[in-house]
Symmetry: C2
Subunit: 399 residues, 2 copies
């Protein structure tokens, strides 16, 4: 047995063929990738959603690295930001670099020779998990806007079902960054004693108005694109303009002004790189944004984007503390926690990381709070791997 | 003689009827206002533009407050941000409150019993000055995108012609905020000894990539709106969606996250305030942005917006110092300058205000640098009048 087969056997799970009976999501661009390390977990049916409604025959896509220990006590679950897939790093089945390639793997900061790492594609996303682009088994048609209202609590509950399905009763560590950090807090609030430790990265205990404003405007750009068509777009009529604006606005708020001064300054495009459109891009910073948008548009389902974006706005851990964030965080019981934030992050400001650290400390955890001065803003956890990795490795070494 | 007539006579200028012969701009919504204190200055014809081309029979709209002294040495010229008109404050002809109502007037921080204040509508704007919405006398049709490429240097040169037209050889003070602060720096660089003092507010010596990115995205939202139609929109087919996104993005970057936490937190709209659209606004912060967009859309010409926005991106005082900002600023000779910035301004960061202060100081000016901790971000100069006014009044008192 090699690769996936061996790993599946060690987990006592059936092979992928079991899942081939399941209804597949709408074909996604990454389904055509050469390798595919995703596995699929069938959620209990019906799967109740927080704000009402149920999912039937829904599933989660996930990937794993390393081996679950006989005592099943070495599992780390990773919740991602809004757009990444479960492919956090390369593995035998899919050698393509993952979104956290340098963080995760044998001998890396999160050392998969010691830890069994699971990364889940968020419920409601479009990278293999059930979402608005998936087929509704009741109609045989894609859900689109008939997908039930999605919350990060639903995403947490779905992942908790997966963890139990893998035979794990308590995670060694639950890790989340950005939207995934909010999902992780929901997981901890809803499932007491589900994790011994927690790594919280550049996230928020509740969505603040600046972040809500940005996300609301991203959604508006998509909704106002005539091609969105109330969710009934197709490959031929895809809301490319709206998705492009949404992505560019994301990138602007994910990075920092300081980084860009050093990186782009006022450097202009070569004349042969410019197009003839009136008011077209002239500066490198504009072409950088265009590049980001091109790599995102058509790689992400617009309706899924709307659902996940709104779920982020709705999130408020305070709901689990009679409306008080500090109370809610203090009710989460962990042995240890690491909370990392970045001074240049305008979307998830350092003050919110401090709030999480203080709340978890009140709850009895030994909390390490790390404030980094990485210039890359919110995205620093994807870029400044040396500093984030060192903090995470040091934390994991003490567990 | 009362009101305008008396003031015009004291300036040795002809009355408004002289200007009625001029071609009027396209009717703008504010042309219907009850009162109108605007006067019009005919620019020299042809008026040469920095990047090529000429304007013919172009004009500037402006308003004034107070009386020009017999020595003509008490004039303050104000350059505005991108969107305001010349109506900075109420006056006899137009009692409607202006955009700087509490700053400017008899006995106010800028005391018009002492100072003769001129506020100019930027060349290229749509509030009375010639811009893309104006009639091109060569064709009898609106310029639209045939308007020549506009720079802030053109706006500065046009205002300089107005100042000379009013019989003023040297301003007591040149004041500019936001885009107007950049225009003021262009004015000082292009017209040596044109002002004895300068007040620079929340502006930039050159556009930095974060600000370029934001403005580029605002322009993209307008350009991608099918109703923009390559500049050939009409009242019936107006790019409302694009202008709305552009304005909301503006407001998001003009204010600060900190202010909004205190002001909006996570307060939701009453259910009867919500509309039924999927993903419609639920939070007060979203309805605040909607309100701002509604008050702006259709009050501003989209093509003018594109021209002024791009002019801001192009601005770089370094052009007047062999590519070096500090050199260029040091070549500006002033007796005194006041440079004010706000710590929470993400669009025109405090570091850029410091750069201006240091450069002008190297040039020999006595410079007061004031860093305010107003929570309102870039817009603080429009809101935190008490603190900005005190600094400005103190500065003017010493002249």
């Amino acid at each position: 047995m090699v690769g996936e087969d061996r790993r599946m056997a060690s987990l006592g799970l059936a092979g992928p063929e079991v899942y081939s009976r399941r209804l597949r999501a709408l074909p996604q661009p990454d389904d055509d990738a050469m390798g595919d390390a995703r596995r699929y977990f069938d959620l209990p049916t019906p799967f109740a959603m927080k704000r009402g409604g149920h999912l039937h025959a829904a599933r989660l896509a996930y990937e794993t690295w390393g081996e679950l220990s006989p005592a099943r006590d070495n599992a780390i679950l990773i919740f991602t930001g809004l757009s990444p897939s479960a492919h956090a790093a390369s593995n035998a089945e899919d050698p393509a670099p993952g979104w956290w390639e340098d963080m995760l793997g044998p001998g890396k900061y999160i050392d998969t020779t010691r830890w069994f790492v699971i990364c889940v594609n968020t419920l409601g996303s479009c990278k293999g998990s059930t979402g608005a682009a998936s087929i509704d088994p009741a109609t045989g048609e894609p859900y689109r806007l008939s997908f039930p209202e999605l919350t990060l609590e639903d995403a947490a509950n779905a992942a908790n079902a997966l963890v139990h399905g893998l035979g794990i009763t308590q995670l060694a560590c639950l890790l989340g960054n950005s939207m995934g950090g909010m999902t992780a807090l929901a997981y901890l609030a809803l499932h007491p004693d589900s994790a011994r430790s927690h790594v919280s990265i550049s996230t928020a205990p509740q969505a603040q108005p600046f972040a809500i404003a940005i996300r609301s405007l991203q959604r508006e750009a998509i909704r106002l694109d005539p091609q969105w068509n109330q969710g009934h777009y197709s490959d031929e009529h895809y809301p490319e303009a709206g998705m492009s604006i949404a992505r560019k606005l994301g990138v602007i708020t994910y990075r920092s002004a300081m980084e860009w001064v050093g990186r782009f300054a006022r450097i202009r495009l070569e004349s042969d790189q410019r197009d003839e459109e009136p008011f077209a891009a002239e500066f490198q910073i504009e072409s950088y944004l265009i590049g980001h948008a091109r790599r995102f548009v058509r790689q992400f389902d617009p309706n899924s984007y709307l659902y996940l974006s709104r779920a982020s706005d709705w999130f408020d851990i305070g709901e689990y503390g009679e409306g008080n964030v500090a109370n809610a965080l203090a009710r989460i019981h962990l042995q240890r926690a690491l909370v990392i934030g970045v001074e240049t992050d305008i979307l998830f400001p350092l003050s919110q990381q401090q709030e999480i650290a203080e709340g978890l400390r009140t709850g009895g955890a030994h909390v390490d709070f790390v404030a980094l001065d990485s210039p890359q803003g919110h995205d620093a956890f994807l870029v400044d791997i040396a500093r984030f990795g060192a903090a995470i490795a040091q934390f994991l070494a003490r567990l």
